[in-house]
Structure formats: C-alpha cells, structure tokens
C-alpha cells in the first residue's frame, strides 16, 4: 500500500463523450489522504482510461483550468477534496454545462475570450497622477483575484439555462469591468457598454456566481450591484439627470 493510502475506495462517475453524446462511466479509485477529485481523475488516466480528456495545469487552485461540475456543482477539481463528500456514495464529475463540450471533461470556453476583447481596456486619464491611496484601490484588488476559471459563467443561469450569450457578457466580465470602472485613474466610460452590450440588466442578482467563486470574490454585492447602480445613475434616475444637466457634473462625483 502507498504511503498515505487510506484503504478506502471511491467510485467516480465520470462523463465520457463529446458533442454527439456520451454517458457517465464508473471508475473505482483507491483513496489517499488529502486526495482531491483531480488526483482521482489523474489516477483514472494513469490506470484505467489513458484517453480521458481533462484540462488542468497548476493543481493549486490558481490557474483556473480544471473547472468541472462535481456532484452537480460547478467547482475546481483540484479544490474538491474527496473526504468532503459523503462516504460510500459515488461522485459524479461532468464538464461545465454552459459551454459546448469538446471531449469528456473538456469544454470550449473561447467565447469568453471573444467577449473579453470587446471591453475597453484600462485607459488612464490625461495627466493623471500615478499615485493613489490604499483605500482607493481596495475594491479593485478584490476583482484582480479572478483566475478566470469561468465557474461563475458556468453557473450563471442567464448563460446556462437561457442561452443568452448574444445578450449578456456574464459575471466574469462584469467583474473585469468593475475593476476597470472603479480604478482611481481610469478615464474610460463603460456605462453605455454595460447597459447595451454587456446586458447587465439581465442579471437578476441571484448570487450563484458568488456561491461558486473559488477565489471568494463577492461578485454580486461588490461588482455587479455597484455597476447596476452606476447604470441607474446614468439612465434611470431623473433627479440625477436634471442635476447633471444643470450643474454639468459627471457621474461618480
């Protein structure tokens, strides 16, 4: 027996298939102390199914590659410890359901990168002083923790169940926009983009994105709702519109 072996076994029901269809295949895996689902997948690749497709890289919950659905919940496989699941019950591992499947546990997430290209990048204001206080940058630093695992995109029902990729950019990109919009020296105006292109009005703030984020980013409360409020400032608050018309003041003052 290997060092760390527990003598226990776990059954993983892993989805095998492609766009033409597939099914769950059961594999029995010996459990070692501290083992995570990705370890079990690697054991299956090494001992039972060398053609099992899985995307992974760091195995440290920092690269965002091994996103999947473990027991129906979007999660990083490298962060899903086997001893956190009920003993004696099989664990299902499936690919993310919001994106088209390539093979087995691998999905095509290229759509996300295409959406990302549409967001106006960081644009410092003219003559901006490149100094700021920590209090100015705290909010943005939270958003910079994103590892682009796309679990929030996967669980978002607007993209997942309603297939509105043609109308909604998804929580990952609202987080990115929040990080840019709230930056103390950024001068670009992304509020019209938020409303008309990113489709922030389609988010009904049910917070699934926050629940699954492996980095613990409070996506809904700290990014999406503040952005919704900025859209309200610009488009839905008549008092502020009149005030801006009279004083020439801009948003965010």
């Amino acid at each position: 027996m290997n060092a760390g072996a527990t003598g226990r076994e776990v059954v993983l029901r892993v989805y095998r298939g492609d766009a033409n269809g597939g099914e769950e295949v059961a594999y029995t895996v010996p459990v070692e102390t501290g083992m995570v689902v990705l370890d079990a997948i690697h054991w299956i690749q090494a001992h039972r199914a060398p053609d099992l497709a899985v995307r992974w890289n760091c195995k440290a919950a920092k690269c965002g590659s091994c996103s999947a659905e473990v027991n129906g919940k979007p999660a990083l496989m490298c962060k899903s410890r086997l001893d956190h699941f009920p003993e004696g019950q099989p664990i299902t591992v499936r690919p993310m359901k919001t994106f088209p499947i390539v093979r087995d546990l691998v999905t095509d997430v290229k759509w996300n990168y295409e959406i990302n290209k549409r967001i106006a990048p960081f644009q410092p204001r003219a003559n901006a002083e490149w100094r700021w206080q920590q209090s100015d940058i705290d909010r943005v630093q939270e958003f910079r923790k994103c590892i682009e695992c796309f679990l929030c995109q996967d669980v978002c029902h607007v993209l997942r169940s309603h297939e509105l990729k043609h109308q909604f950019a998804g929580p990952r990109f609202l987080v990115r926009i929040a990080g840019l919009e709230m930056h103390p020296i950024d001068g670009a105006d992304r509020v019209p983009f938020l409303k008309d292109t990113a489709g922030i009005g389609l988010c009904n703030i049910t917070k699934c994105c926050t629940e699954v984020c492996p980095e613990g980013i409070t996506i809904t409360d700290n990014a999406i709702i503040p952005l919704k409020e900025r859209v309200v400032d610009r488009y839905y608050d008549p008092v502020q519109r009149v005030w801006r018309a009279i004083t020439g003041a801009k948003d965010g003052t």
């Binding site: 129906g72 993310m96 994106f99 549409r118 169940s161 309603h162 020296i185 919704k228 608050d237 965010g252």
Partner: protein
C-alpha cells in the same frame, strides 16, 4: 474523437448594436456556443444535496410574514393602536398614521403609506434574489434546470422598475425618523389614573382630544410593547442603513475616495455601510419578522388578549407636563 462543430462568433469588430427595444447585444450569434445546460428540464440536476430546502423555506417565510402583513394592514385596522394603561403603542404598519376624512370607512389608512415600505422591500436587492429563486424559479437553485426558456431579466417592464429602488430608499429614510419618534412615544407612559379614562374619551371626543385629556403627567417606563417597537425600529434601521443603493450613494459611486470632496468621511461612511451590507439578508428577515411581531403585540394588547407587562418605571427621570410632551405627540 471529433471536435464539436461550432457556429461562429461574429467578429470582434462587429458593431455592438442595441437589440430590439433596448435589448442588449454582445455581438454573439443567438444560439451560438450552447452547452448542455439549456437542455435541462425543470429541477434537473446532478446535485445530491437538499437544494430545494432553502427556496422552499424562503417561500414559506415570505408567505407567512407577507400574509400576516397584508392581514394587519388591510383587514386589521380596528386594532392598530394600544392607548390604555398609560401606553401609546402604534403598529409600525400604520406609522405615520394618516387618515384623511375622504378615506372610505372600508379602506385601511395603511393603504396610503404601505406603498413605500412595500416598494422598498420589493425592489430590494436581497428580496429580489429571494423571490426570483423561490417564486419564479429563475433559478430555483444554482445549477438546477429551470421551468422556462424565455427570460428578460430586469430589462423590460415590470422588472425594469427595480431601478427605482433608491427612491424607495429615500422614502424609507423619512419613515425611519417617524418610526423613531414612535419608539420614544412607546417609552413615555401617561399617568395611570387619567390614562384609564382614555378609551371612553376617545369615543366621545376623538383621538387627539383623548390624548390631551388623558395626559395629565408622563414618565419614562418600559413595557413589553415598548421593547417590541424598539426592536422593530432597530431592525428596520439596520435593514435600511445596509441598503446596496445607500452604499452606492454615500460613496460607492466614487472611483477615487482620496480625490473627491469630503473623500475621507465618505470612505468612512461607505465602509460602515459596507459592513452592515454584508448582513443585509439577516437584517431583511429580522426586520420583517420584528415589524410583524410588534404589530401582533400591539394588536393583542388592543384586543385584550395580552396584558402588556410594565418591566420598569423611571418616574424620577421624566415627569413632564402635558405641553412639553405635545411636541412629540
């Protein structure tokens, strides 16, 4: 193994045109890049946990508390105030109490004011999550199939009105001031001998005259109802001050605190509201429960089912003449 054929995403340089009637458009072709999630039927999931429990519990809680609130506001107008044994307890559902002469007898005066707290809660970012999940199943739980394919989020009427939340916040802040006055009144008791006459005088001379006649002297005291009304207003205060819109208005809208006018105090205020906002869900539930509980206690005292206990009296701290107190009344 063959790679799944993909419909193409339109070019990144394609115009980001607004869709029909203000519907946003990302530039992706409709139906492109679809996954298996959209083919899941209602309730379909591989989740093995009790994902249904929280939405059911939420729905039950909202039905019970909102059902009670409706009963109290629209059918229970006969017992909204307790004015006996020196007390002056007003149900929070009826505060501020406005009863114009033109209001038909069969219509509750609560109707005139409840649109504001009702609107505040209906457009609240927390309650939106709760009722979208529990009543619209949109989604009923994370990664669980939904009952409908059609969806327009908050971009069309009536859900477009969610954007008015800050206006209901302004109203709620005004209401808070009035509710705190009610709290003070709930801790100021009338001299028992005179107050005992209040019900009879009320029927003969009306409420205002009864109060004047009854208040020969006043003193600080704590009754069960005083604490219930304090609890209710305290929870409402925490709920209101933890509002997401307030968080935005007091400082969240700024990109640079240190560059803005009064940036330091605004950052401090924003930080405090942010801490409160982290518990917004808890305040939302506690405040709803507390308001119902305060109304229930006032109602039971008024009907005579419950005898409101006097927990403490502080006659030496406040014995004021009628005229001084009339400012509060």
């Amino acid at each position: 193994m063959p790679v799944a054929p993909q419909r193409k995403l339109s070019a990144a340089s394609a115009p980001t045109a607004v869709g029909a009637r203000g519907v946003p458009a990302t530039g992706t072709a409709p139906g492109a890049w679809s996954g298996a999630g959209s083919r899941q039927g209602f309730g379909a999931t591989e989740r093995g946990d009790a994902w249904w429990f929280k939405p059911v519990l939420q729905a039950a809680g909202l039905i019970v508390l909102i059902g009670y609130a409706n009963y109290a506001a629209f059918l229970g107008a006969a017992h909204y105030r307790y004015l006996e044994n020196g007390r002056d307890y007003l149900s929070p559902f009826y505060s501020p109490y406005i009863h114009p002469a033109w209001l038909p007898v069969w219509l509750s005066p609560a109707l005139l004011i409840l649109v504001f707290p009702l609107g505040f809660r209906a457009t609240c970012y927390y309650y939106r999550k709760a009722y979208y999940r529990s009543f619209f199943a949109d989604p009923i739980a994370c990664a669980v199939g939904e009952p409908r394919q059609a969806y327009c989020g908050e971009v069309k009427f009536p859900f477009l009105l969610q954007n008015l939340h800050r206006y209901f916040l302004y109203a709620a802040l005004v209401f808070l001031v009035i509710l705190w006055i009610d709290v003070v009144k709930a801790f100021i008791f009338s001299a028992p001998a005179l107050a005992a006459a209040a019900p009879a005088v009320t029927s003969a001379l009306g409420l205002h005259a009864a109060r004047e006649a009854a208040s020969g002297g006043h003193y600080l005291a704590i009754g069960g109802g005083s604490l219930a009304i304090l609890f209710s207003t305290g929870m409402l205060t925490l709920y209101t001050l933890s509002c997401h819109s307030l968080r935005h208005l007091v400082g969240g809208k700024l990109d640079c605190f240190s560059c803005a006018a009064a940036g330091g105090p605004r950052h401090k205020t924003w930080s405090i509201v942010t801490v409160l906002n982290g518990h917004h869900m808890a305040w939302a539930w506690w405040s709803l429960f507390a308001v119902c509980f305060a109304d229930f206690l006032v109602r039971m005292c008024s009907i005579g089912v419950i005898h409101d206990p006097t927990l403490a009296t502080f006659r030496h701290l406040l014995e004021m003449p009628n005229r001084s107190l009339s400012l509060l009344r």
